[in-house]
């Protein structure tokens, strides 16, 4: 655990120095999941998967449109635009299906703090935010088997 945190810290420092934006997927500490495929992550944020395998409803925690994490979510992870994304989520509800539960918060710290109260929450946060007390207590999920500190991590 200590090694992971140290590596993470070094990565944060390196990323800041090099200007490379990196994003981590965080979930509630009680969530038993340890890793996700990129496709599974896209399905969650795209509103296709609305329930965790262990039961709770997926609650998407997102930042406001001008934030780096939201821009990364739209432009890189989902390859969509904010208006198209809104339309897709509205379509799901319009079809009569269970609507996507989405909460938009105005800072990484607020988002992480909010997640403590929602066991089914998942969020995409800047890796640098993991050093804050609010986000540091959340569980970082491996994406395609890799953590943000590891080579080949996809969310950069």
């Amino acid at each position: 655990m200590g090694r992971i945190l140290l590596t993470l810290g070094l990565l944060i420092g390196f990323s800041r120095a090099a200007g490379v934006a990196s994003f981590a997927v965080v979930v509630h500490p009680s969530n038993p999941i340890t890793g996700l495929r990129l496709r599974e992550l896209q399905a969650m944020f795209g509103g296709v998967t609305k329930q965790w395998e262990h039961g709770p409803k997926v609650v998407l925690i997102e930042r406001q449109p001008e934030s780096p994490s939201f821009r990364f979510l739209m432009g890189r992870l989902l390859n969509t635009s904010a208006s198209e994304y809104k339309r897709n989520l509205a379509s799901i509800e319009f079809k009569g299906e269970t609507p996507v539960t989405l909460k938009v918060l105005n800072s990484e710290a607020t988002a992480c703090k909010y997640m403590f109260y929602v066991p089914g929450a998942i969020a995409l946060v800047e890796t640098s935010s993991l050093s804050t007390p609010e986000c540091g207590q959340l569980k970082v999920v491996r994406i395609e088997g890799k953590l943000p500190a590891e080579d080949g991590y996809r969310l950069r």
Partner: protein, 403 residues
């Protein structure tokens, strides 16, 4: 005033405050014990370090680990969850039906609301103010598109009771409001019944739907039993509910390996009465392949409708449409669509069918520009061919929005 402040506070409130204070005190004591225990542990593990280093690689992270993690609390109750969305549009049309001039038009106002009335029950209402069919200032037709009580127990079995849109193909279940649609117009195959459409797009009854355990194939089923509508057809003056059971079975797949892809088919059967006194057996088979992801929207649907009555002959209506759109940049989506339908048959039904479905082909092309997340501007040109008039080109501009 002084006497007011001198009045003792209600006893009930005081008891509640005392109880909260007692709980807080107990909580503080528990935290103090935990902190003491942690200090002892830290001291035992590293006796040579009198003070922790002030700045390490991830000091805050370690501090955070020492702080007690708040216990997960249950999610806020959604028992009273209520959502509302409105969709509307206004625009300008030129030569819409081949015989009309240019005009400004007000589109529909689609009001959509859901309310979760218990953990497993949801009410869904969709009412459309058809201002495009308005004839008098104080006479706006209101169409209750959907009114459903939805029972949601698990992913495998859900039951809807009420007025629903039939699961015939893809477009009918997914898209109605102009803002939700990429294109300015709907595919001609899915013209609404009250505008001359030949497909049964609305029924009243029961609809069961859910997931078929199929792994990565992502199979879903829909089984509907209800009564179909016949209205606004020649010889009719208004809505007429048919009491003949309409049955529809649909199956579609959303493979996990290809997000955005949906492939499916449906089989629908009912009794159909295009004019008073007649009763035809109507069957509708559909197949669709749709891809909506990564900037692409590629919609393909084929339909075969068959109307028959022993002694009166039959009429077959095969048709399809294909629509392709691609988002350029963040806001521009050019699109094109081709609609085709054919009508043939025998006997009096076969003779009548072409009058019921007069159009042959529509070739449309347009552009959608999302002005904001909630407002879209669309422009569309279309060339339509018909059995009873010369081909014509129409143009339309539309501002569609949601609120």
């Amino acid at each position: 005033m002084a006497s007011f402040w001198a009045v003792p506070r209600p006893v009930v409130g005081q008891d509640r405050q005392d109880e909260i204070i007692q709980k807080l005190i107990a909580r503080v004591e528990a935290l103090e014990r935990e902190v003491a225990a942690l200090k002892q542990t830290a001291a035992a593990q590293s006796p040579a370090q009198p003070e922790p280093a002030p700045a390490q690689a991830v000091p805050k992270q370690e501090t955070a680990v020492a702080v007690e993690t708040p216990q997960p609390e249950p999610e806020p109750s959604e028992a009273s969850r209520y959502t509302f969305h409105g969709y509307a549009d206004a625009g300008f049309q030129r030569n819409e039906d081949g015989a009309s001039d240019k005009k400004f038009v007000l589109g529909e106002i689609d009001l959509f609301a859901t309310a979760q009335i218990s953990p497993k029950l949801t009410a869904l209402v969709e009412a459309v103010l058809e201002t495009d069919n308005q004839t008098l200032v104080a006479d706006v037709p209101v169409n209750v598109e959907r009114l459903l009580l939805q029972y949601r127990d698990n992913d495998y079995f859900n039951l809807d009771i009420g007025s629903y849109r039939t699961a015939i193909g893809f477009y009918n279940t997914t898209l109605r409001a102009s803002w939700l649609q990429t294109s300015l117009t709907r595919p001609m195959l899915f013209t609404f019944e009250d505008e001359g459409g030949f497909l049964p797009l609305h029924n009243v009854g029961l609809s069961a739907n859910g997931i078929v355990p199929s792994g990565d194939l992502g199979l879903h089923y829909v089984v509907e039993v209800g009564s179909s509508r016949n209205y606004a057809q020649p010889g009719r003056t208004g809505l007429d509910w048919e009491q003949n059971a309409a049955v529809n079975v649909a199956l579609y797949a959303r493979p996990r390996a290809i997000p955005g892809l949906q492939i499916g088919s449906s089989s629908y059967h009912d009794k159909f009465s295009p004019e008073p006194g007649s009763m035809l057996n109507r069957s509708v088979w559909t197949a669709h392949a749709v891809y909506q992801a990564y900037r692409f929207e590629f919609l393909n649907e084929a339909v075969l409708a068959r109307f028959r009555e022993p002694g009166l002959g039959y009429g077959n209506v095969p048709g399809f449409y294909s629509q392709l759109g691609y988002r350029v940049g963040s806001n521009w989506t050019p699109y094109t669509r081709y609609d085709y339908v054919n009508v043939y048959g025998k006997g009096s039904v076969g003779e009548y069918a072409p009058q019921y479905v007069p159009w042959r082909t529509v070739f449309s092309g347009g552009l959608r520009y999302d002005l904001t997340e909630a407002v879209a501007l669309k422009f569309e040109l279309g060339r339509e061919t018909d059995r009873f008039q010369l081909p014509w080109i129409r143009a339309a501009l539309q501002l569609a929005f949601t609120f």
